[in-house]
Each structure stands twice: as structure tokens, then as C-alpha cells.
Symmetry: D2
């Protein structure tokens, strides 16, 4: 219930940033798929700290060990467990602030909820947990690929600078994982500037799924957009999500926002995609389009007011190797959660195929 | 899986807009609560069509019959089933367009998914289904009330006009269910104007939950904001959701967006609420604040291009008694879904109370 | 969680024996199935009180109203809600014993759990709740039938008298719903004798599912026999369940109990069926065979020692119209739960069909 | 869905007998419990192969590594992942029979279901998977212990020899883990004799939970006995389960089988425990009593008829280090599953405590 995502295809994750290992179990994955290990490796690399100049200076190896569910490299239909040992963690970075609640982090809420917390690096609420999602997402993508579905995401806004015109041809290159647009360089510079100023910035990630057949997702509480919204907001730094015309839909008239339809060569064609590929919770054959808002990294090397874990006022300055923005590294995490959600919905759909 | 929401406290809904009845089952509701029937009645009235000049001219009675789970007016811990008979539906309004796919509606996706659909009034994907949610929400609110939690929502933007300054003192009055603000009258006029022009408009609803204790929600996939996002996007017309500073967080620096903390009279106080009351998926004691974007009503009495259910091009003009904007009537639905989500999370939390 | 059974195909039930109605919601049922209403009616009749001389003298009409999920008699893929109004209940029968805990019933545990209970006729724990299961089972059987699966059950032991030799050709006839065997008449007489003596008896029901394809059910916690065991023990009067050679397997040697295999006309044939059609939790193509032990009806018109709801010693004699044995009426309930379980597992299996 | 057990407190397991590791994730476990590692170690030892003369000659070390969820030895409320590396497996034992379907095993059903299987030692359906359950059960027992609940099981029948008179004072000693009874030595001899004769035997395990408060479990589909039945039948070798008087209830009269009640020193006392501690699915404060039937080990060193994985007739003789009976080693597994089920139900109950 708490650490499991999905209904038929599920990912359960475990691990704290400075514990022995993080990892998870992918269950409900079909048998008979020869996993592409290089693809998994390359997906893990996209999220790995230290992989780009925009990120933290931490260099984690993030080597994934698969413990079960494979026989001669082929999935057997049984649970695929995997782990990534924590090797590069330097807990001493946290000894200064062990007893302080970092603003914008879950320190206070964990302490209040559980009466205990692992103070090293955020423990369970560390972004490091998302490495397990990227592994799960890589498997989901391989499954989706066999159904002709592809998922791509990119940064379309960072530090308040929006990409104005771009083509959508993912995957997009590091360090920003943004589409080629006039503003890309400025975004990168703004992130670096924030770092110099001991501050951080956020951004917006767009994610699109292409090739999703009509009929995925269910009316009412199993709406595909509801499941994707759950998926996105389960990522720690995400503070909002929208589909298709999204919040702008609220400002449009029905005559503008409705996607009209025509037949074209025997296929249904929508004249626009304000719906973001989902009508009444069910995919309509268009690209599924969503955007997730990423907040600025809360760990900053500046004085901030806070309290201790014995509930006294104090100040805090979070040193350590933190990303000035996690928007770039979150791209592959957004893709992973979208892939897991859509793959699950696609399997559920198969129960009812006529 | 498909028509059930929640984990411990669940709402399962049923019914098509022009079938015999709509309704549902609330399960996991605590025993021993004397239900306030007038409150339920008054919640239902807030959603009911024809209740305000802004809405449709349809006048539905929406009389709820409770079928089980009560003994002498007190809940017994067993499932509370309820139904609302469909009495005022005029299916002939739909005979013209029975074979046409209404743009912006789920007609095409239902037909493609199921190979069959109830063409009368949207069938299962009709907004009428939300009446069952309002009933469930009313029960959730009564439960929350016993824990000191209250939920209120209001329209803060309609037809592109934003409320600029207002106090938050819900419930807000009909017809718009918006807080008292300089723009309220303009919003109402803009909705009426859209109606005159055979068009429709959308808007944004803010919802706040007060009195939520610290520690509700879970890290990772059970994050309270993830559950709320799922809840919101399960409402047909919602195209986006954000928490606290939301999409604006993406444009702020960490130093601005972090909510700093101080002790005040032995209580933890946050100096701001950019987090929207949730840190790491767990409530922090602040008001939970979210906003949902409502798209313009897709049913409009204008010519639009579409296709038939035998996949040929056609035009459509959706007559009938439709709301020019559903933003006002959606306020109580947003509250209901927030209440169900938070009440469920609160019950889950109790398992672990020390 | 509490009143819902199944994973993809679910049945949620509601209702107390003397409330307004009982009923439920079947969710996840495929679209496009023209329901056979006569078959539903005839299934309901098999469970209905007063239908045979062995049962209670109560005559309930048990008319089912379908409230949703059908369009022109064909399922639409949306939830199928149904209700049976309680019309023949005579609550006055319970006024004598309203404050007494009936031995063998859930009166005491309900009172202790909820602090409140509906004392009329057992309330939620009444056998009347199983009418909703019979309806759900009828739908499941119709679905299974389209996959070539049939379910049949019969009484093979009553009042301690075992059927010795019989052919398995269900459905079996009332009043006992037992296969034609030398002991059938004695069983019926023994039940009638118990009634005359103001006592009650139990029995054993065997249930077989034929035509279940190989590969249904999952290893580990989703084993088909585990799901069926859950299903059977969810029926109030069932105190045990066994599969294939069952408890006798514990007394056999491996060399006797293993089902050896041979190819026959290109098909796998097992030389015996001690496994009851399930190996490692997965159907093996043989008939699935289970037996459920039904306890004697706890309501008897004899003095028994008990306590009041204010926790004082008292005596009780449960008058009213009770079955001297519910084993006959439980036959269709056992079938219904088996059908729901297997239909659900079959749909889940389809997700992974190659 | 497939490899997860429980609702609030869940155990998800992974691993094949001859893969890299087996293990699992315990989720929903309360924070703040200092785990007793010695107790876990000693529970693991009870199941470990080679630990008694009755079992297999395989000697597995079964060292458990906890990967997450602990901070300074105390649970933090986050998922507790654990693994046991497979070190002593000798896959060559299986090369002879790699392409043969072992009778009584899941070889054929796995092959038919997945189109692929790990032929080494049963793969996922190996009894080795239960080591993960024993770990989960050890944690559940520690949690239950803090609520005053204790779980004990023992062999009460083996090779057709029933224990006649015994006291219930678990834990019972190896090698048979049976209560002290006149027949214990004969049971042990019968198992050894079966081994000499290249055959195997089964048995019956009784399990009792003491100290379970009144009110655990839910009416209808969440009945505590239904959940326990699911738990028991999820153990590979279990072919039947019964509660209280169980199958014998079917042969009793209501007047014998009902547990009458009296007040005694202000406490409710049942004059018998035919119900096995559960009435209407809810615990009644008595000991919960269940019995599980264990089939004889299917792996026997005798010629048996079977087929190959290319569907041709063949013979098989399963050499290797197999238990002549797994009834002794299954005792701790039965306890573990009972503990997980009751601990979960107890946490669920807490949501509603008044």
C-alpha cells in the first residue's frame, strides 16, 4: 500500500540513501522478454549524480544487481528483484545537521509521523529512492516498446525561462535533457548562476507517450490521467501536473478547447490535442502529453530559519554536494513513472480485449 | 479497481446518467456515527443541476435513498449503500446525436474501448456520476469533522478572470461558490455571456483542508499529494492540479520557496506555506492547499466537426440543457474528493498511532 | 477491502437482512455480453428460502433489480449494480432476543467490534447477504461459460451420512442438491429429523470446475487454491476447505498422491487427480475439485446458555423460521464464490496471454 | 497482486531456489520497534534444511541480510528489505531431469503458463521461497508480541499417525516439532521408514493464536478465517485447512457445535471452542485454532510416469537431497503465515478503535 505502485504490473521500492542498499521488486512483468541490459544501464546513467556539470559533484556508481526473475537473461514471469548498494555515501556531511529539520525537506514530517528518522541524507525521502523507479521504468519501457509505445520527456522550462519553439525528438541531450531551443543555453546558465549564489531553481518537464492505442485507462477512478497524476506527484519534487492544454484549458472556451475530429485514410484524426491524448480517462490514440512542475532543490548552502528535533529554534545551512536544480535529473524519473503507469494500464486493458 | 476510490475508507460508484439510478457504496466507514441527514441533503443541493442561474436548466431532484449500513440513523460499520433514481432525464435530447461522437467527450473512447456505449447523456462518463461522490464526500466530511478537520473550496478563476484579493472563509455562496472578491461579478457575467454565445468557459478551483494533523500520508507512493492528485484528476473535467506554490514553484528559487520554521508558543510554525501543507508526501500541520483546473464544458450548441459511430465525417451541434461552465458545480465535487482522500489517509494513519 | 471480493472482476456487497435492501456492485465485467436474465432468476431461486421442504418456511421473493451497467440488455463494461428489496422480513421475531447473543452467531463479535449492531435477523452477518453473491456468481458463470468453463456443486455428506457412489452430472435436484446416491434419501430424512428435534445438522459440499484451461492462477500468494480457500471461508457457515485428496493427502505416500502423466492423442493426461486440478497454485487442466465443510445452523429452538448485550448470563431459545440445515441452500453459494474466483483469475490470466 | 500478501502490513517475496538470492520486502511495519535479531535467526533455523535428521541432507546457511528500514537496529516505518543469498545450491542435481515434468510439482503448470521456467530446483515454486515468509513471520510475531498475542504450531499427525493426547505448550522440539504425545516416536519412525523406501509422507499441522483480542477481522469478505485460509493455501504443500471443529462440524448437531457462553469474573467465557476463536469472521477472544493438511513431498527417488517439456512420454526418478516429509519444516511456515495475517488484521482493526 505504501511503497508499491501499480495494479497488475507493480513496482515496490525500498531503501534509504545512506543505508546498505536501495532497490525494489518488479512484479507482474510478462515472461519471455530478453532484457536489454545496456538500455537499463544507460537509463540509470541518465539519473546518476555526477553525470553532468549541472548536477551534484557526488559520483555514485549505481550498479544494479538483478537478484531474481531472470533465467538466461530472459524474464520468467516471476518477481524481478534488484538492488543498488550504497557505496559512495558520506554520512559525515550530515552530522552537523543531524538534529536540524531542513526546510523544504521531509525531516520534520518524518520525525512527527514516525517518532524516529534516519537523518543521513534524507533517508527514505531522499531523491536517491528514484533510482529504483528508473530501473522499473526501464523495464516498463522495454515492455511498452514491444507494443509500439515510446515515452520521452524533456525540460521545457528552467529557472523561469521557457522554451519557446522546439521540435519534439527525444531523447534530449545532457546536461539539461531539454529539446533544442533558443533558450536552452540561458537555462543552463541560470542553473549555474543559482549554484554560484548558493541557491537553487526549479523547472517544468514535459512528457509525451506516443503510440498508445485507443482504449487504455478506465472511466471514473481508474482514469489514465488520474493514475499518471498519482505517478507524477509521487515524485518528491513535483508540485503540480497538467494534461494537454492543462491549466490553460481553464482560460479557453469550449469551442477552442474541444478537439474536433475527422476521418483520414480510414483513421480517426483529431484536429488538435488539447485533451493531451485522454478523453474521459481513456486514451484516444493521440500522444499523451503531460507536464510536471519541479520545485527548486530545498538543500541550499544559505542560512535559513528552522527548528531542531527537540523543537527549539535554530539556523541551518545545508552544505554537501547538492544539485542546484534537479529538473534535469528528474527527466528520466518522470519518464519512468509514466512508463510504469501506461504499461500497467496496457496490461489491464488486455484482460478485456475482444 | 475501476470504480472504487480509497484504501480503507472506500467509495465505489455506479450508474449511467440515463439509466435507472446512480449511486454507490461507502465501505470502511466507522461505526457509531449519527449521520446528519440535513448536511448530506445540503451538500447534494450544492451540486444539483438547476440550483443556480449559472447552471443547466435541468432540474434534478437527486433524492438519496440510503439502503444499508444504518440502524436508527447511526452507522453500524457495515457498507453504506445509497442510490439516486434517475427521474428527470429526457433521453430524446440525445436521439439526434446518438450516433455522433461529441468532441471533448468520451464518446469516441468509450466506443473504441468497449465496442458499445450508452449514448444517452454521456452514460457512465456523465457528470451526473459525481453526485455519488458528493454523497461519499458528505460522509467523509462528517467523519473528518469529528477529528477537527474541515474542507472548503471555491472558484478563484473563471473564464480567464482571476480573483485578486479575498479572504478564505468557506463555504462560499452560490451561484459561483467563489470567495468575495472584486472580480466575482465579472466572472459571473463572463459565464453568462459564454452561454449567450452558445459557448462555454472553464476555471480554477482552490481547495483547502484545515486542521489536518501532522503525519497524514506516507512517503513514496502513498504521498498525500499523490493521492489527492489521483482524486482530482478522477473528476472528468479536471485537466491539472497543483499544491501550494504549484507551477509557480518551478519559477522560484529554493531560498524563496522553502518554508522556514520557528517555534511559537510550543508549536511549530511555518513562516510560509509554499509546500501547500505537505512535505515529502506527509501533512505538516499547515492548511493543505491545492488548485484544480476545470476545462470548459465540451457540450456546446455550435457546429463542430466530428465523426459518426460508423466512422464517417459529420457535423454536430449539441443542444440540450448544458452548463455554460461547470466550475461552480464542481466546487463541491472537489471538496468531496479531497474529503474522501484525507479521511482515508487519516484512518490509515490511525493503524500506526503510538 | 472489507466487502469487496476479487481483483479485476470484483463483487462488492451491501445490506442487512432486515434493512431496506441487500445488493451489490459487480465491477470489471466485460462489455458486450447479453445477460441471460432467466438463468439469473433460476440461480436466485436455488438459494431462495422456502424453495424446498428442507429449508426455512420463510418465503422471500428475492426479486433482483439491475440498476446500471446494461444497455438494451447487454453489458457495457461499466459497474453492474443490483438490489433486492427486503419485503418479507418479520423483525418482531427478533424482539425477544434483541438483547441476547445467539450462540454460534456473530452477535457477540459484532457488538464487541462495533459497539453497535443491527439485531434484526443477524444484520450484516445474516445468510441473506449471500443472495448478492449468487447474483454475482450467476454473472461470473455466464462469463465463464463463454470460455468453456462450467461450475457445479452438490451435497456429498449431510448429518454425518456420506454419499458413497455417485456420478457427477450437475446440476443436482432439490431439495438436497445432492448427486443421485444410495444415501440421498437418508440424508434428507436426517435433516427433517433434526428439525423435529429442534436441532440442526451440517454437511459437506463438493464443487468442481470443468474446462478450466491450464495456466490460471499464480505461484506464491496468488495461488488459485489460496484464492478459492479465501472465497469459501468467506461464506459464513464454512469451517474448512480442501482440494483434491485434501486432508487425505496427509495420510498418503508421495508415490500414491502424485498424479503421474502421460500424453494421449497429443494432450497431457493425468492418471489421477489428487491435486484437485491445481499444481503450485496454477490450474493443470484437470477438473478443479474442492470440498467445503458446512457447520450446523446455529439458530435452534432449544435452550442454550448465553449472555445479554449488557453482559449478564441468560438463556436463549431461537424461535423463528430457520433452516434445520443450510447445506442444501449453500450449494449455489459455493458455486457462486468458485465462479467469481475462477472468472477473476481467468481475466487476470488474459493480461499475459501470448 | 501476485507476490504480495497482506493489506496494511504486507510481505512481498522474490527469488528462485537456484537464482542469486531469495528475499522480500516487509512494508507497513510500525516504526520504533527494536528488532530482536536472535529471535529472527532462531526462527530461520527452524525452517533451515539439514537442521534435523528428518529433513534433507542439504545444509543451507540461510543468512539473512537486512538492507533497509532499520536505523540503529530500530524500525523506522519504511520498508524492510531483506535477502538470503543462495550459496549451497547444486544445480547439477537437476541436469538429469531438466527437461522432465516432476509429478506433483508445478513444472508442467509453470511451463504451460509462462512458456519458460527455471528448471533448477523448482525455481520460484521451490519450498525455499518460504524462507522469506519465515523472516516476515518473525517480524510479525515480534509485533504481535507487543500486543500480547502469541502464535504456536505443531505436528499433530504424520504418516497417518495421529497424536491422541497432548498438552499445548509450544514451541515444540525438533526434529518433528510435535507436542509430547504417545505417538511422537512412531511418527518419526514412519517418516524415516518412508525415506528408506524412497517414498514420502504428509501430515497435519495445528496452529493456535493466543491472546487475540475480540474484534479482529471483518464480516463478509474480510473474515479473519478467510484471510487465514488464503494464507495457509498459499503454502505450496497445503491441500486443506479447517478452523475449530472444522470438517467435524459438518457431522455435529447445532446443539453440540454451538459454543455456549457465560460471564465469569466480568469476562465473557465460551464453554467450548468449536468455532476456533472466530465467529462471523471476527475473533471472539478464544484461541484461534486451525489445522492445515500437508501433502507428502512430491520429489521421490522412484520411477514415475511423466512427460518431457517437448510433450513426450518418459519416466522420472527424482534423486537429490529431498525431505521424506516436509511436515516438520512447514510448522514454522504455518506460524509465519498465521502471524502475518493476524498482525495485518490487528493493524487494520486499529483504524477503527474507539
Amino acid at each position: 500500500m505504501f511503497n508499491t505502485f501499480g495494479r497488475i504490473l507493480t513496482l515496490t521500492t525500498f531503501g534509504e540513501s545512506h543505508g546498505k542498499a536501495i532497490g525494489g521488486i518488479v512484479d507482474g512483468y510478462p515472461a519471455g522478454i530478453a532484457l536489454d541490459m545496456e538500455m537499463i544501464e544507460s537509463e540509470m546513467a541518465r539519473r546518476r549524480p555526477g553525470s553532468t556539470k549541472l548536477g551534484t559533484a557526488r559520483s555514485e556508481k549505481d550498479e544494479v544487481k538483478i537478484l531474481s526473475g531472470l533465467y538466461n537473461g530472459v524474464t520468467t514471469g516471476t518477481p524481478i528483484a534488484f538492488m543498488i548498494e550504497n557505496t559512495s555515501q558520506i554520512s559525515s556531511h550530515y552530522s552537523d545537521i543531524e538534529h536540524k529539520m531542513r526546510p523544504g525537506h521531509a525531516d520534520y514530517t518524518f520525525q512527527a509521523k514516525y517518532g524516529i528518522r534516519d537523518p543521513r541524507g534524507g533517508g527514505r525521502s531522499s531523491g536517491r529512492e528514484t533510482a529504483a523507479r528508473v530501473f522499473g521504468g526501464a523495464l516498463a519501457k522495454q515492455l511498452l516498446s514491444s507494443f509500439g509505445v515510446s515515452i520521452g520527456a524533456g525540460v521545457i522550462e528552467a529557472a523561469g525561462i521557457k522554451a519557446t519553439s522546439y521540435e519534439w525528438n527525444p531523447p534530449f541531450p545532457p546536461p539539461l535533457y531539454a529539446p533544442d531551443c533558443p533558450e536552452r543555453e540561458s537555462m543552463i546558465n541560470a542553473i549555474e548562476k543559482a549554484k554560484e549564489e548558493c541557491d537553487s531553481v526549479g523547472g517544468i518537464i514535459e512528457c509525451r507517450a506516443s503510440g498508445v492505442p485507443v482504449g487504455i485507462g478506465d472511466p471514473v477512478f481508474g482514469k489514465l490521467d488520474a493514475l499518471l497524476a498519482h505517478a507524477m506527484l509521487s515524485i518528491g519534487a513535483v508540485k503540480g501536473v497538467e494534461f494537454g492544454s492543462g491549466f490553460e484549458a481553464a482560460r479557453k472556451r469550449g469551442s477552442e478547447n474541444n478537439d474536433q475530429m475527422r476521418m483520414e485514410n480510414g483513421e480517426v484524426r483529431f484536429l488538435s490535442n488539447n485533451a493531451g491524448g485522454i478523453l474521459g480517462g481513456i486514451s484516444n490514440g493521440n500522444d499523451i502529453v503531460l507536464r510536471a512542475a519541479i520545485k527548486p532543490t530545498p538543500s541550499i548552502a544559505r542560512e535559513q530559519l528552522t527548528i531542531t528535533d527537540t523543537y527549539e529554534d535554530t539556523d541551518i545551512c545545508v552544505h554537501g554536494r547538492h544539485d542546484p536544480s534537479i529538473v534535469a535529473r528528474a527527466v528520466v524519473v518522470v519518464e519512468a513513472m509514466a512508463a510504469l503507469t501506461i504499461a500497467d494500464a496496457l496490461l489491464v486493458r488486455r484482460c478485456y480485449e475482444r
